[in-house]
Subunit: 318 residues, 6 copies
Amino acid sequence: MTQIKQLVSQDEFVGFYLLKELEVRQTNSTPPKDYFDIVLSDSTGQLSAKMWDVSSTDKETFFPMGLVKVRGIVQTYRERLQIKIGQMRLATPEDGVSITEFIRSAPIRPIDLVHTIKNTTASIVNDEVRTIVEYCINKAEEKLMHYPAAKTHHHAYYAGLAYHIVRMLELGEFICRQRPFLNADMVRAGIILHDVAKTEELNARLGVVSDYSVPGKLIGHIALASSWITEAAIRCDIPLESERVLGLQHLVLSHHNTGEWGSPVQPQTAEAVALHYIDSLDAKLQMVEDALDSTPESESWTPMIRGLENKAVYRTPV
Amino acid sequence: MTQIKQLVSQDEFVGFYLLKELEVRQTNSTPPKDYFDIVLSDSTGQLSAKMWDVSSTDKETFFPMGLVKVRGIVQTYRERLQIKIGQMRLATPEDGVSITEFIRSAPIRPIDLVHTIKNTTASIVNDEVRTIVEYCINKAEEKLMHYPAAKTHHHAYYAGLAYHIVRMLELGEFICRQRPFLNADMVRAGIILHDVAKTEELNARLGVVSDYSVPGKLIGHIALASSWITEAAIRCDIPLESERVLGLQHLVLSHHNTGEWGSPVQPQTAEAVALHYIDSLDAKLQMVEDALDSTPESESWTPMIRGLENKAVYRTPV
Amino acid sequence: MTQIKQLVSQDEFVGFYLLKELEVRQTNSTPPKDYFDIVLSDSTGQLSAKMWDVSSTDKETFFPMGLVKVRGIVQTYRERLQIKIGQMRLATPEDGVSITEFIRSAPIRPIDLVHTIKNTTASIVNDEVRTIVEYCINKAEEKLMHYPAAKTHHHAYYAGLAYHIVRMLELGEFICRQRPFLNADMVRAGIILHDVAKTEELNARLGVVSDYSVPGKLIGHIALASSWITEAAIRCDIPLESERVLGLQHLVLSHHNTGEWGSPVQPQTAEAVALHYIDSLDAKLQMVEDALDSTPESESWTPMIRGLENKAVYRTPV
Amino acid sequence: MTQIKQLVSQDEFVGFYLLKELEVRQTNSTPPKDYFDIVLSDSTGQLSAKMWDVSSTDKETFFPMGLVKVRGIVQTYRERLQIKIGQMRLATPEDGVSITEFIRSAPIRPIDLVHTIKNTTASIVNDEVRTIVEYCINKAEEKLMHYPAAKTHHHAYYAGLAYHIVRMLELGEFICRQRPFLNADMVRAGIILHDVAKTEELNARLGVVSDYSVPGKLIGHIALASSWITEAAIRCDIPLESERVLGLQHLVLSHHNTGEWGSPVQPQTAEAVALHYIDSLDAKLQMVEDALDSTPESESWTPMIRGLENKAVYRTPV
Amino acid sequence: MTQIKQLVSQDEFVGFYLLKELEVRQTNSTPPKDYFDIVLSDSTGQLSAKMWDVSSTDKETFFPMGLVKVRGIVQTYRERLQIKIGQMRLATPEDGVSITEFIRSAPIRPIDLVHTIKNTTASIVNDEVRTIVEYCINKAEEKLMHYPAAKTHHHAYYAGLAYHIVRMLELGEFICRQRPFLNADMVRAGIILHDVAKTEELNARLGVVSDYSVPGKLIGHIALASSWITEAAIRCDIPLESERVLGLQHLVLSHHNTGEWGSPVQPQTAEAVALHYIDSLDAKLQMVEDALDSTPESESWTPMIRGLENKAVYRTPV
Amino acid sequence: MTQIKQLVSQDEFVGFYLLKELEVRQTNSTPPKDYFDIVLSDSTGQLSAKMWDVSSTDKETFFPMGLVKVRGIVQTYRERLQIKIGQMRLATPEDGVSITEFIRSAPIRPIDLVHTIKNTTASIVNDEVRTIVEYCINKAEEKLMHYPAAKTHHHAYYAGLAYHIVRMLELGEFICRQRPFLNADMVRAGIILHDVAKTEELNARLGVVSDYSVPGKLIGHIALASSWITEAAIRCDIPLESERVLGLQHLVLSHHNTGEWGSPVQPQTAEAVALHYIDSLDAKLQMVEDALDSTPESESWTPMIRGLENKAVYRTPV
């Protein structure tokens, strides 16, 4: 089966792919005819595709995020590759293919990522802090197994959120060893909780965010996480006035650093300062790494990266 | 008894005043001598004062926010009035003066303000909304009787917060009548709750804010109010997912309008838009009214007003 | 006759509509053929439409803002409704339809709006203020009967400008009663004059702004209104140095609050502060109300609203 | 007579100077004694001075902007020169000194500057433009003879405004020759009118601005100049709709380039673009020239210059 | 031969033109057919063109920046002129046409522009300054003969960079005469060097920038020019610590005035201040002149000009 | 010998200290008397001090950054400790004290820091990169042994610059292991070179910056470092066009991330992105650690920290 990344112009191929996007459009002919404007993807990348002269049955059969078997040919259109689909059908159980093989994923298994997060939580010494983190992890757990960290910005793939947390935890451990004045419990807790309410802010399936939820738009993951902590404290009988509750809420509320970026307060504890910069470092480097990965080796520049103020990145020559 | 506002240069006077500020300083003479740098105030205004050659006993006797009887003379120093204190003693119970007579206060009695707020709360039709507002009002009630609305910006006096709420409620009633598409329950609830957590954010006594509390600095009244709503819902068995909980949290979180001003989300319901502009209108006009009130009639311009982008206001001639 | 708002997919219909926009386009076929890209509207809304295979006569017959009788069918194109026009002809006098029935309009009759504005003007006590306002109202009167308040931002419909003024006057009366220190003459005059020069800034017909006039681009309605006041004073023998002339010019010049928004000076009288916030409150709430009105009841979110920093508004559930 | 710029530490001297600033202060001794905190100036610069033990008569005799004869000694205080005044008396007619010898002044005689401005005005070809410029020049003439161009920013000295205009006219002539597509009438008129209403915006005496006038604060020189043009057109029977009136108003309204800097509209004619950059070039270079002039030759850096974003300027070595 | 600027609708014509842009596109018909989407230009302007039904040979024959002979007809498409190409062939040597006749060019011959720049360089008195300028001019010389000054902003045509320098030198001479305190050597050197590294920053051919070079993106012309000066000093044995080296580097580094516009330091010498404003004045007026030139006389407004904050310019009526 | 940090009110003490600041001032008495306004420091902190009635000899004897023996008494002045100096003399060789014992210093010996930097340099694999880094390190070496990293912002103490580099190298090694796609040579080189030209930008002695040098103000350390690389390449015969030269210059030029913060280009290689965030993380955490260290354990809040947007930091309770 041919992987998307390996297709070159003029290839004729047959294979299974994910119908990542599908729209019915009309040609400008009179009368106009329906065709499909499609994005096909697998775990190695994605390509746009056209399927001409679609029937009413076709329009009822195919839908976004479905798995399909495609016979097609690769063409060049405006200097980019594009697939012209000859034949297409839905995958069936007999095909023995699973959707998870076709989606972009963190490079570590979700179950291992969540395991690391739980182990780290268990290692938190302070009872109140550990209890609150456990409560929030339990609340999010099912989604932590597959949620991306963002819609497009960074770690936008299956289990991207858990992967982001785990890489930050590695960096956090290093910083806490390098600077022992930091409270390691709070650094760990802040890393685990800072984006945990993205599981409530975003609607996502298979690592792809479709949109923001209503609470996501009206409250946002920053204030949502603060409410989760309030909830955890009340449910676990921890006094709301506890310095630990206060400190954890400060960590999540301040982690975007400025009001302009959505934080109602700015970092004012050592751990909050550490959290913001650990988060930035991991997110920005991941954006760069992902952009370079998905740019063909032959090209020196990635496309522009929104999270890097719309700058493209130049591939450092070896 | 001579009121501060009536004192003119060369007046010799005796009267009771509030020692609003007091600092011990030293003259530059050799050896240096201690003196008091003082701000005396009553309900009509305040003046700076000096008391020279203070003794060790004086330094132990007098303290800020104490009530004192003063014999003094009014001088002009660098074009401003200043009191030179001849004699000063603490007020005693026999003097029959009460500190509340000497502080700046909202023009309506606190008890009446809180009564209005409670009545309005009781008039809220939706059970969930009313229950949550009642919970928060109870939590704040004792402080609502006397807290100012801010440190210096606006309504910075005894019961200023409750006064701000009540004037906003009047305006809110008008707007809801003018635009029936607004949900009056939510407008009322938003007005009552928007600044309610200033009672946790600020440390205040007698209408004067001494500083921000630790939660005030690390969380801020906006996110604190959101947590109060979470707490109210849990304690009163209202589901956290209720649209009403969400709507109330959105109101308090968005009422500063932009991230730059501390709101993690921007107004995205009709009532949230209304709340922000009702709040601005009331706060700005109160700043202007207070500035004009405390500027002598003979002067055309008020001092610069920080909350109006540091502009002075010109007194419209009659 | 079927109203635009009631049309659903597959409807075949005949009716009169306004040709709000009309452009001749060419198909991509070889040779290309002309077709009309059209927006049809009535007082309840608007829909895009196509008319294929148009003749030379058609291209000479139809023009934007004309009234037409249409036979058509409703189709769905890219998830939106679109009309395919079968037949179309110009409306004739015999049809007994009038263009004003087909345009979006303020909910109060223009004649009543202007009546209210004139009555309020007559109630201004100060002779100089009243005379200047009357002069400006006379200068604008004919256009006040139908001008919108803006191109797209807010009150963008027939008599929208007068409607905006009248709602602001209601709010102004309330505020003047609530805060008697405000000079009611100046508040009323400021409200009536603040946008009056939009009638010179914009070119509009039937409540629709086609573009900005040359003075609109080179001077802008803010400085134009200031010049109107200068002109009124000279023509009516009021000294240019009068405090009233100065005060009125300050009101119009400062009503956008900041230089960034086009005001060369910032509000520095109580009435100027009031005017700016009354204007904001009315304009923002009208944007929200209009956006909710023109969004189908079944949808929770309005489209993004440019005047609300591009935020969509969520419909508060009943 | 010793000039301020020539005084060095330990000099004992007698001379006539301008009492540019004078404030009565009190020492910290008990009882405090009055002394004068003074700024003495002549055309070469200024120095601060103290006069100790002043009498009641002294306090009634001396006033700011008076001319005095001083006997004093130069001391060093906190690394700066400061004069200790031994004796001081008011200058009398017999002294034969004139205040204009003691103030900082443009390097060209005011009468010659105004002559150049009038000649240039007379050379304007278009009748409407010339008439309006003449009207405005007449309105300002008396003040044009001595007004500074700003409070502190640039050309802050006697006849600084006229000097600024004349230098800009020289530059304007050059640019019009270099780029004949520019309308020379409009460039000349724009240069002459752009700051003409500073004569109404500022209160100044002897080249020193004491403060902004009430119209200066509430309207500002930009909108004032636009009103002057309206007034000129009406008084001289030029139609307000004339393209020339419009063009001149656009020039003055847009000359600060952005809303942030006080222009309600941005330059949108070739001449308006030229005017803004000619104004900037002249003003910025004059700031630099003045700062270098008043910095001792021995110092490499001027003080920070507010109009150059608070940067100091380094003296280019010869 | 018909010039682009003279073509009107319905013209049938034959002529030589530059194929400024060429893209192969496909029609929406089934199967899609290839056609050329073309921009034809000569020295008077440019027009878009279509050539339908292109063959494989056509696709191999034609390329951007080639010279072609075209038979075509002018049509109107969406209110704009567009050429429908009937026949097209490559120009041959026998046609006797040269590409330089077909491109937009500075109004002065490149050889004369470079001659002026070299003469001015030779007139620089200070040896170090002159030597460094000569070194840089030599480094850039070949490109100075034809490079534009920018991609689209200003002077975007053949030899536009040299033309910009020469006009600035004229202005610089004037300013140095008007203000003799300026160091004329440094003003001249600054003008010549400020944009000289655009020849390294941009990839350009025939006055058209195709893109930024890698050093252009990673270093930028400002820091590149500073490195050129370092290089010149080392190669010509001028000490790097020389005040002249420092002064020249400061000139190029600061000429964009603020960090926001790419200058790592702000102008802090008189000559650096002069350079920035001379550069702005020349660039902005050239944008305006070019925009007016390429707008038909019959139109009052130019298109929006990006370098003037996206404002259109109004043609001052004669 | 009593350390500064241990002094409490009323202590009488004798000890050696550094005269970190010294100014001669005058009392307000008549005639005024000279006294010293002093800052005494040792490695544990600093305190202000007064020495009254100083003689002419005293004024010639003492100077800033001198080492002195002091007999004094600790007083409280405006709630802060202050030393009243009874006797003071210069330290002599016989006292056996060395100035380096009295200054604030990085917690690692300078020689070890520089050793680490040189070892890391030696480990760079690429010849061009290593050669350039070595050249620059040699150029700076003597100053690397003692220069602070900034005037006040962060690492403002003896060898602070080398300490900052070494901590960043530790973090860089971690990141390169965590993300092997990064070019470790370039990360190491970027870290070592990014601030190396601070040794030319700042004038510093004993870890204290007195001011910026002339090249520091006119060029800045960012463009200076870029010139060092140009110089290194030329002197070491590495082609200026080498991708390595380009890459290193990009690293130093972009490390402040935005134009607003002084970088003429933004990070556009993976290593440049890494460098900026490693720099931020280390600098910000060091500011916090230093601020907490120098705040008494008994206080919850540090003073405001300029580099953290003027926020104070709250000490996380243990």
